[in-house]
Every structure is written in C-alpha cells, then in structure tokens.
C-alpha cells in the first residue's frame, strides 16, 4: 500500500525543469504558456522549479549544440532519480531544420536518454501536456528503488560495521 501511495504521489506531483538548448523560442514560449491560465498545468501538480535538484521532469527544447551539450549533461546528472526527459519540438527530436548546421550536434537523444518525444514546430501547448502526461506513465512503472531517508541510514550502518 505504501508503494502505491508513493507511486501515486510521484505521478501527481511532477516538478519540471525547462532547459532551452538552442531553440528558436517558439517551443519555450509554448512551455511557459502551459503554466499560464489558459492551459494551467498546475492542475496536474506541475510546478516549474528551475532547479535540477528539485526536478522530476526535464523538458528540453531546441537542438543540442557543442556548447550547451555540457550544460545539458550537467543538468541531467544533477537531477535525482527517478527522472523523465521529454524532448519538445522538431529541433529537440532530430535537429529539425537546423540538423545540417555546423554547430548543431542533433537531437537531445544524442546526448541523454529521452523518454518522450513531442513533435511539432512549435509544439502546441496541448501537445506538450500530452507529452508530459505520457512521460508520467514511466513513473507508474518504476519500482520503488530509492528509499529516501531510510536509505542513507542503512548505508551509514553498513559502512560502520
């Protein structure tokens, strides 16, 4: 039962982190539009936290280039488990129109594992909501591998003994 509550909470409280790789702003403003009254994704308990340590979902817009790939990897590393990565817009999926440009590495999945792809240029807010809800399916499947605070204590005990 405990496990069920945990999983339920995970699905109902996804905090998101938005990183703009090298998007044209089109998808970014649609992500922000999702937070505003007309779409209001806080209905699903979603908050834009802006801090990788707090986030559960990483929304990436735009194609990855050589410079921001390090930032993206760094953000992804900082996010505690369990986490979901959602790529938004053509650029984030494959590089879009820019995939042949010299400074573009390609889609987000060339750098980090992507769980959900949201096509569109720019992806509409409805599509982004769909994508986030699809991403939450992953949380439902995850088993409870991280035991929170208890885990730390157990680790400390084993170290001492």
């Amino acid at each position: 039962m405990f496990e069920q509550i945990t999983r339920g909470s995970r699905v109902k409280s996804p905090w998101l982190l938005h990183y703009d790789c090298s998007s044209c702003n089109g998808c970014d403003i649609e992500v922000i539009a999702c937070l505003t009254p007309v779409y209001d994704i806080e209905r699903f308990g979603i908050i834009n936290v802006g801090n990788p340590l707090h986030a559960d979902i990483l929304l990436v817009t735009g194609a990855v280039n050589h410079r921001n790939r390090k930032v993206l990897e760094n953000l992804y590393e900082q996010m505690p488990h369990p986490r979901v990565v959602i790529a938004i817009g053509s650029c984030a999926l494959s590089g879009g129109v820019f995939r042949e440009a010299y400074n573009v590495v390609g889609g987000v999945d060339k750098v980090i594992a992507v769980d959900v792809y949201v096509p569109g240029c720019a992806a509409k807010p409805e599509a982004i909501i769909d994508g986030v809800l699809l991403g939450l399916e992953k949380f439902k499947k995850l088993s409870n591998n991280w035991r929170g605070v208890g885990g730390i204590f157990r680790e400390a005990e084993t170290n001492e003994s």
């Binding site: 945990t6 995970r10 806080e42 834009n48 340590l53 707090h54 929170g148």
Partner: protein, 283 residues
C-alpha cells in the same frame, strides 16, 4: 501525564495535516485569483510524499543535520505552544529552527544558496524584534508570558492590541514567503536566485523543510488566533480573514528587495507596535 502525551501526539499529527491543507487551499485560492484552476487541495501532500521517496542527494552531512534540526525545532515549538508554555520560549525555539535552516544553506557552495541564506538572515533580523514586541504586548495586557494564561484571558486581545496584530501580519507575510517579502525563497522558482535558500536542499531533506514550514505556519496562525481566544468562531474567522488577506497581498504586489524590506518592516512594524504599547500604557 497521559493528558500531556495525548496533547503532544495530537499536535504532532494534526499540525502537519492542517499545515498541508492550508498550503493546498492557499494554492487553489492563488490560482483562482489568477483565473486558473489550480492543483487539487491535497497537492502539498503529494509533493511531500514524492520528495520523501526521491533519491537522497545531500550536498554535505551538515546540511542533512540542519534539515533534521529545523524540522525538530519547529515541531518542538508547536508542541510547546500546544502545552501552553511560555510564549518567549516558543518564539526562541522557532527562531533556533530558522537559524538552522540558514546554516544548512550556508554550508553549501552554491552562490544562489548563499545569497538566499544571507537574505533569510536579514529577514529573520527584521521580523524577530516584532515577534518579541508582540509577546511583550500580550504580557502587558495579560500580565503573563504563559500561553495558557493568554488563552484563559476574558476579552479578545485584538480589541486592545489591533496595531500589534497588524505588525504580526507583517511577520506572517515574511514567514509565509509571500510578495512583497518573498526574497530568500518563494513558492515558484521564478526569482533571481531561483529557490535561494532551498536551492541545495533536495529530495527527502526538502520534504523535511516543507513539513517544518507547515509547523511554522501553524505556529504563527495559532499565535494569531490568540488574539480572539474567547470563542472558537472568532478564532477561526480571524485566522481565515488574516490568511485570505495574505493571499491577496501576495497577488497585488511585486517582490521588493531586501534593503526596502528591512527599512519597511522595521519602520512600519516598530511604529505599529510602539503606538500600540503607548496606547495601552496611557489608558
């Protein structure tokens, strides 16, 4: 003895439940004021349960300790309050908790966390004198620092201490991290130092801080309710109106900077308190 244990147990269970519920209602009300639907009322509990089960990533052991210390201090403060203990002791315990929160943030290396901690200290500096003055005002009126005595006082304190109550409202705005005083951290990360104070607390430790915050909110609202301790209706009505005003203030003001806050909180708060104390004295 049994009574005491029962009170302690009931407080420890009821306070976070109530605190979470208030926080949920707050979020819905804010959403409504912004023409949104907002999250379900139990959202804060989902958040905390989720955080408790996240992978624990700690910056350092000191911060973990500080998270525990903050939560314990806030719990003790509320329990002491419930037991009708000395008001000054309660405020002191709560202040210790707040300091631990700051120390935890200071122990990290993130500049946002450091700036947040710095600002939180300034905030503590600006509201603590006011809280003490409120306690003094209550003492001057009831002749005792004992919360139990205050509860038993015959007439609503609000009628005698209206200005002090306004000063307490100021403290509440700072403690609830509402605009214009959401300087060190805010509910949404949209500020220049992101989550500031809470930047490096994550996972279960952030959950502890959140629960500690609920205890703090309960403590302050309970303190507010003392001003109409004569009837249950009065108490609930007073707290509800106060909280509603806080939510509205949050939505009609921009965030200010700490220089302005320090000046405003002291000038406004001290004036209100002193006027009230003189008024009490003269009559």
């Amino acid at each position: 003895m049994i009574d005491t244990i029962l009170v302690v147990a009931a407080t420890l269970v009821a306070a976070p439940l109530l605190g979470g519920l208030i926080s949920g209602l707050d979020r819905i009300a804010t959403a409504r004021l912004q023409s949104r639907v907002g999250p379900p009322v139990v959202q804060p509990f989902h958040d905390v349960i989720k955080l408790l089960n996240k992978e624990p990533v700690a910056v350092n052991v000191w911060q973990v300790f500080c998270a525990y210390a903050y939560l314990s201090a806030s719990m003790i403060a509320v329990v002491l309050f419930a037991l009708g203990s000395d008001l000054l002791l309660v405020l002191f315990t709560q202040a210790v908790g707040a300091v631990f929160l700051v120390v935890g943030a200071l122990s990290s290396t993130s500049p946002y966390s450091l700036v947040g901690a710095h600002r939180e200290l300034l905030q503590t500096l600006s509201y603590e004198p006011l809280l003490v003055l409120v306690a003094v005002g209550i003492y001057l009126q009831t002749g005792s620092f004992k919360i139990a005595d205050t509860r038993a006082w015959g007439a609503p304190l609000l009628l005698k201490l209206p200005f002090l109550y306004a000063a307490l409202g100021l403290v509440l705005t700072i403690k609830l991290r509402k605009s214009p005083f959401d300087l060190s951290t805010s509910h949404h990360g949209h500020q220049e130092i992101v989550k500031g104070l809470l930047t490096d607390y994550s996972g279960p430790f952030l959950a502890f801080v959140e629960i500690g915050h609920w205890f703090d909110v309960i403590l302050l609202l309970w303190l507010c309710s003392l001003f109409w301790a004569t009837s249950w209706t009065g108490m609930i009505l007073l707290v509800a109106v106060t909280y509603a005003l806080e939510v509205v203030t949050d939505n009609v003001t921009a965030r200010m900077n700490w220089r302005w806050m320090l000046g405003y909180a002291w000038a406004m708060g001290l004036t209100l308190s002193v006027v009230n104390l003189i008024w009490l004295h003269v009559r």
